[in-house]
Symmetry: D2
Subunit: 338 residues, 4 copies
Amino acid sequence: MNFRSDNTAPAAPEIIAALTSVNESAAPAYGEDQWSKRLNETFSDVFERDVRVFTVASGTAANAICVASLTPPWGAVLCHREAHIECDECGAAEFYSGGAKLVLIDGDAAKLTPATLEEGIARNERGIHSVMPSAISVSQTTERGAVYKPDELAALGKIAKRAGLGLHMDGARFGNAVAALGCKPADITWRAGVDLLSFGATKNGAIAAEAIVCFDPARAEEIGRRRKRSGHLFSKGRFVAAQLLAYLDNDLWLKLARQSNAMAARLGEAALPFLSHPVESNQLFIKPGPEALAKLRAAGAEFYDWGNGQSGEARLVVSWNQSEADINAMIKALSALR
Amino acid sequence: MNFRSDNTAPAAPEIIAALTSVNESAAPAYGEDQWSKRLNETFSDVFERDVRVFTVASGTAANAICVASLTPPWGAVLCHREAHIECDECGAAEFYSGGAKLVLIDGDAAKLTPATLEEGIARNERGIHSVMPSAISVSQTTERGAVYKPDELAALGKIAKRAGLGLHMDGARFGNAVAALGCKPADITWRAGVDLLSFGATKNGAIAAEAIVCFDPARAEEIGRRRKRSGHLFSKGRFVAAQLLAYLDNDLWLKLARQSNAMAARLGEAALPFLSHPVESNQLFIKPGPEALAKLRAAGAEFYDWGNGQSGEARLVVSWNQSEADINAMIKALSALR
Amino acid sequence: MNFRSDNTAPAAPEIIAALTSVNESAAPAYGEDQWSKRLNETFSDVFERDVRVFTVASGTAANAICVASLTPPWGAVLCHREAHIECDECGAAEFYSGGAKLVLIDGDAAKLTPATLEEGIARNERGIHSVMPSAISVSQTTERGAVYKPDELAALGKIAKRAGLGLHMDGARFGNAVAALGCKPADITWRAGVDLLSFGATKNGAIAAEAIVCFDPARAEEIGRRRKRSGHLFSKGRFVAAQLLAYLDNDLWLKLARQSNAMAARLGEAALPFLSHPVESNQLFIKPGPEALAKLRAAGAEFYDWGNGQSGEARLVVSWNQSEADINAMIKALSALR
Amino acid sequence: MNFRSDNTAPAAPEIIAALTSVNESAAPAYGEDQWSKRLNETFSDVFERDVRVFTVASGTAANAICVASLTPPWGAVLCHREAHIECDECGAAEFYSGGAKLVLIDGDAAKLTPATLEEGIARNERGIHSVMPSAISVSQTTERGAVYKPDELAALGKIAKRAGLGLHMDGARFGNAVAALGCKPADITWRAGVDLLSFGATKNGAIAAEAIVCFDPARAEEIGRRRKRSGHLFSKGRFVAAQLLAYLDNDLWLKLARQSNAMAARLGEAALPFLSHPVESNQLFIKPGPEALAKLRAAGAEFYDWGNGQSGEARLVVSWNQSEADINAMIKALSALR
């Protein structure tokens, strides 16, 4: 009953197979191989427009490069107080951007709303003595497992454009969002005004494969330079390209995401009285109190406390390969708390 | 007849098998898995002392983190004019270090000597108006395929210590150096005064697996922070750990390196009249003139020109999996030039 | 009736005279002149211990260099939400530190308390995925004109030491604090645990003269390098040294600060019903509402709105040279609001 | 007989007088005062076109901000091996630019030529693995006291434009260059293709007054941000503005520069057999050998050795206020060597 994180899951068999399949004879290095070269086209199909794709080693790298490409060093990046770029990346956004400032916005379910975003922009416009609002970063799904609907994102995108701010999406669990919404990937990205997407595959079945999807051709050159300079251009690029191609092939990514979302929904029903938020994707947040959490652990469940440890709140993340037995056991343990 | 780079080679079957072998059930993320945890011990065995190991995605990342850990932003890093960190990493060392300066030293075979190093240090000691000599970076094997002998390195290490400078080794082809020298890994690293080693596996049979080997426990905490902050801490760390464990297991790394060294030596005999340098590892530099290079290409050989394109010089890199047929064909083509 | 800022005031005649007095014949450049060389000794007398002094061109430079010297790039600097380094320096702390993060603490009168500081430290200790609490920055006087008493600072200093954090003081109005407290400069700096002080003279009668006062000899070398590298080492250093020597000579600084504090106290009595905070130094914050502020302006008063412009709050800053007539006129205008 | 540097000279009386003249009553802070506001217009007159002017505290700050505005962090800045930005600013250009690389070009008299510049550009165009040539920095006068003629600069400017590179001029001794050439300031700046000029006044009679002159309106916003962020926006801006206005008023700057140039020319005649370069401005380089230098020092002359101390070469800098007696004594001492 390991619900610590989808990062703890193994890779899907299709991903492993893909590595083997490209491991024959020599291939050009640094992204000039045939598989890497197919990435732009394949992602362009998925996103229904020409995009440029840059693979990197981690979600942190994808996020930091994207943020740095959208803000000058003296800029401010507006994001939620619980955003991964703020809380969990050891200041990568500040490092890559040359010292931009993250400006934090509060709100339920780790979401920005038009009102809180407008307020955050207004609060930071103080001329040359202050950092300059330059970009917005949203997470889809959010750090609380919530999902922005296309029109919610479009509303944020409209504000971004009006204010002249770039819009980045941290899509570490982008597949879970698309699966949950049943929408087109385009609907929650460029059609809503997103300029750069961190497209995550690692949590949802890959080994280590993240991609920066660039919807703005004018930024591509810079992103390529930033990637190389930070050591995220792989010499044997075929192996990360192969993962991503397999991930997108036959909608594997959506199958895996639907699976974890569905299992999470089942857990959500069992945990209904304790939910901090409605379950929208593959993460649940429950707040049954410290004693109840101790009981879950006693029953064999593994998960992270959320908040400061005394809050009695916990996060449960369902992975693509979570077993039926795991889920059933957890449902039983949760039901025992009611 | 692809002699472009060992980066173009596939991964060794043992490496691929290792990925599969760790791909079962959940494992803790971010280096807390059992395989990642074995890295310190395994490398400590190889290096005959306690070391701390930090995996990263690329040699550029390893080099840049090491250099940044050895110099303040206002420092100077002495390296050869042809060093990879100077020529081929898009300024990664400057990025990671916050703007340190690389001070370039000339010399045959891309090697530093005690004399040139002392001169470089002396030339840059000008008080507060100048950057402060802080570190030295050497490549083993060098960018010209040369190999530093243990006593050569010890002489550089002595200068480094006396001048209070850190010593970094770019070991992108470290296996080829150890194989060529038949020495202990310790003899050309910490015993000679090396503080930090970029230990490369990718070029010599891995998929994407590089390790920072830290011989100075006091620097380990900082290196861990720098790695995380730059996006090089893998969430599913087991997959890179598995590659490195397989690489070291049963001296696979030395077997592969001996193989490419030996093949290069055979090519070197055939190319004797054209060699820019004696062949010491798996790289050859030949200078038969532009017309001769055109003939080699006409015979099916692929390689990079070296220098400015009109120099008539070329680099040939032999990979771990270079076929006997390739080598024989190349020997034939080279012999035809004589 | 200009109460916009003490930055709008002219320089004291003693400061101007000092410039003339050092303007004869040649003098060594870059701080090797006789006046610059006297700074360490003079400040050591004032602070009752050996200190190292580094002059810079602005308070922003002093603050940013201090902060950068107390935190690694991956560190967190705890400060009040209204701190000058957060709100008014265009991200200088982030620039100089290589991207450290400012962690914001709320509290009345722009002050940190032991409780809020402890909470801020605890909230940010999350291991390698998060930035690492490394330093604390307090402003004396605060951005709300409040003054930390020696024991209040000592309590913060104790927490800093226990947690292994450096302690910086932004003393842009340090003279006003010392004058208000009637204490020794040492009592609110190194005796309380302050490591680095931005000692401001510009607002209180100088032209452009700020000094970093370093209480920790081990940091001096680094500060000198950071100053040079950022372009804050003056070639004709005698002119800034002369200002500082004149500023300290015969307690000029305290005379000027007492004068502005006393005038502010008089204003404070007149503004009693509208005060946001008790008046402790040379800044007043009043909140009589938008209409009352309009009346003050109609009466000829100049000042900045505080907050978002609709708050009906304003800041009044009294300068060292504020005329009796100005003060009396303002008292009359304030009294008319009651 | 102090010929160490023009940095050792006092300020001209007109500059001191200017400080006094602006020191009355309150004036808006941060460059909003009437004197600061006149800078754009005054410099626009001098340069015969609309320019934007940004005052800073030092030549290092001016240079570093200019360079950073012309190159991305992954860029290369081409400059002479002896350039001040390379040798004497403790890596300021690297700091401000976020780690750009200075690419060094050799050549007589510390000058770039079209041939060496083209070669430098070509040598560094190696695609994404290398830093990207982005800017050129020239010094006028050069670090060897040489002066670029308008057509020499125009030739470099043409190369810059063709290659898409920005062109910066380090004009720490710009006045000496204009005085030597008898040309219009425009002829050796924007008419020749210069984008940004570090206009120095400190060495030639000011206290501390340097200005970034921006010929490209599109860069002005960024320069203002970089200045603020680095702590070089003065709160009491009137005092630096006053220096610059007095410096330009009635061609004071050219009078002072002509004076030091003329005195240097006299010294040059006396030193003719020992000159390393013809004397073109207010700096002389002589190479009479170590013993001769010792004799000069024995005669009371102060100056810096040039090169490594054993070279027997020295630099003599003539200041605006160098006395007739000084010059005559030095001429006598030099003549005694012949």
